[in-house]
């Protein structure tokens, strides 16, 4: 076919951007290739592993099965967008380090973005609810317990429950 392109304007990590995008591109392709946001991993590329997970208008999506052209007018947040003004990492990222929830690191950005959706809800979820909200991700290194602890501790700390967090 003759190549088909479309101008896609959106907000990525708080910045208004626009680029001509190949209509065949997935959002993963666009974020990695056009914007060099390499936290967005190419894992299974069929929406099963969650490594490409990003937040679009406040909800988590597997960007591998989301057409880049659909990003028009949307607000997208990737792991890079969590960094502070001087590049500091966020509390949830630090918790992943502290809890040894990272080994090879390939699944971590996806997991962390799902955790961000949980934390942004600003309420306390039960253990079962956290497990369910994190269930769209696969990790083949650490297993899930350390990841679960990192999310739960950060949730409790953000709610001011330091003591409960330390006991997790």
């Amino acid at each position: 076919m003759s190549k088909q392109y479309k101008l896609v304007s959106c907000t990525i990590n708080g910045k208004q951007v626009e680029k001509m995008v190949d209509v065949r591109a997935s959002l993963t392709d666009m974020l990695r290739d056009d914007y060099r946001l390499t936290s967005v991993k190419k894992g299974c590329e069929v929406g099963e592993c969650g490594a490409c997970n990003v937040i679009i208008d406040g909800e988590c999506f597997n960007s591998c099965i989301y057409l880049a052209v659909w990003a028009e007018g949307k607000e997208i947040l990737t792991l890079e967008g969590l960094a502070g003004p001087n590049g500091e990492i966020s509390d949830i990222q630090q918790a992943f380090i502290d809890e040894a929830a990272v080994q090879c690191g390939f699944c971590s950005p996806g997991f962390i973005m799902s955790a961000v959706e949980i934390l942004e809800a600003k309420r306390e979820f039960s253990d079962d609810e956290i497990r369910k909200l994190m269930s769209g991700h696969l990790c083949r290194c650490t297993g899930y317990e350390n990841i679960f602890r990192a999310v739960k501790k950060t949730m409790l700390r953000r709610l001011g429950k330091e003591k409960e967090a330390d006991e997790v």
Partner: protein, 295 residues
């Protein structure tokens, strides 16, 4: 990159219909969690796509003038689960679609896509069958409405003619008023799995909660398409709320269903769990309706 021959983005329902007529070979893409995966697998590679994902007019849950619940076909599973109208009148549908895939899939997957792919295992389909849902299809000659039972023609094939798209799913008022239901998905994992068998039951009890006025049951993966179990429904209609009624209802299911052997499970196993699920789902529906089954 996907192997897409050409992408046409619809700007309205009318535009989508026009695009489908201009490009008769094109495949409709809604959320894409089936279409793009099949494209990746090579099954739909090299196809033209008509994207309807941008049509916000097809999103959301509302009441129609006669009290029927209208679910726009592009409403995502997670939005159905969180919707106050669904929670008030047909909470079981919200619970059923909350068992599809994982959280990210539930944000992109649409109820229209879940039914238009004609798959028997769709978590929404058995509940929609069990609640007498009506499908609204819009095409070049306007809109038509058909019962969801007639929408399914055979495995993977639904009644969408050239130029037509499914625009809404409607639950009539008489189909939901006074009914309480429960859905059970039997699968190997709690997330990211397809139902081995799914069973959706709902009941309407008499005012004193002692008699089953009406019971409805539908299955996914008990045949090539989602199906009701009419003999079982008859076996419970007008019967007292009792252990015997529940047992008779569940066992009669075997007269209606026709599961097959597959790599996921054998026919015999599916028949076995179909009876167990019918029993459990009916008991839970009775409980939700305010009744009590004495053991």
């Amino acid at each position: 990159m996907y192997d897409i021959k050409a992408l046409y983005e619809a700007e309205s329902v009318e535009h989508a219909i026009r695009l489908l007529i201009e490009h008769p070979e094109a495949q409709i893409i809604a959320g894409g969690s089936d279409v793009l995966v099949q494209m990746r697998e090579g099954k739909r590679a090299g196809k033209e796509l008509v994207s309807i994902y941008g049509l916000d007019e097809m999103r959301g849950v509302s009441y129609e003038a006669d009290g029927a619940i209208r679910i726009g076909s592009l409403t995502s599973f997670s939005h159905i689960t969180r919707d106050p109208i669904i929670q008030k009148h047909i909470n079981v549908l919200g619970e059923a679609v909350d068992m599809v895939g994982g959280p990210q899939i539930r944000n992109i997957g649409t109820i229209g896509g879940n039914t238009c792919n004609g798959v028997t295992s769709a978590d929404s389909a058995s509940t929609l069958h069990a609640w007498d849902a009506v499908v609204e299809i819009t095409g070049p000659d306007g809109a038509r409405r058909i019962p969801i039972h007639d929408f399914y023609i055979k495995a993977g094939v639904v009644d969408l003619r050239p130029g037509e798209i499914q625009t809404a799913i409607i639950i009539p008022k008489e189909a939901y008023e006074g009914y309480y239901g429960h859905y059970i998905k039997y699968a190997m994992r709690n997330a990211m799995d397809i139902a081995t068998t799914g069973c959706s039951v709902n009941v309407r009890l008499s005012a004193d909660k002692k008699t089953i006025e009406d019971a409805r049951i539908a299955y996914g993966v008990a045949g090539p398409v989602p199906m009701r179990a009419p003999s079982a429904e008859k076996a419970a209609e007008g019967k007292p709320v009792s252990e015997e009624t529940v047992k008779a209802f569940a066992e009669t299911v075997l007269e209606d269903i026709n599961p097959r052997d597959s790599w996921r499970a054998s026919k015999a196993f599916r028949q076995h769990i179909a009876v167990v699920l019918a029993k459990r789902a009916l008991k839970e529906s009775i409980r939700l309706a305010g009744g009590e089954v004495n053991e």
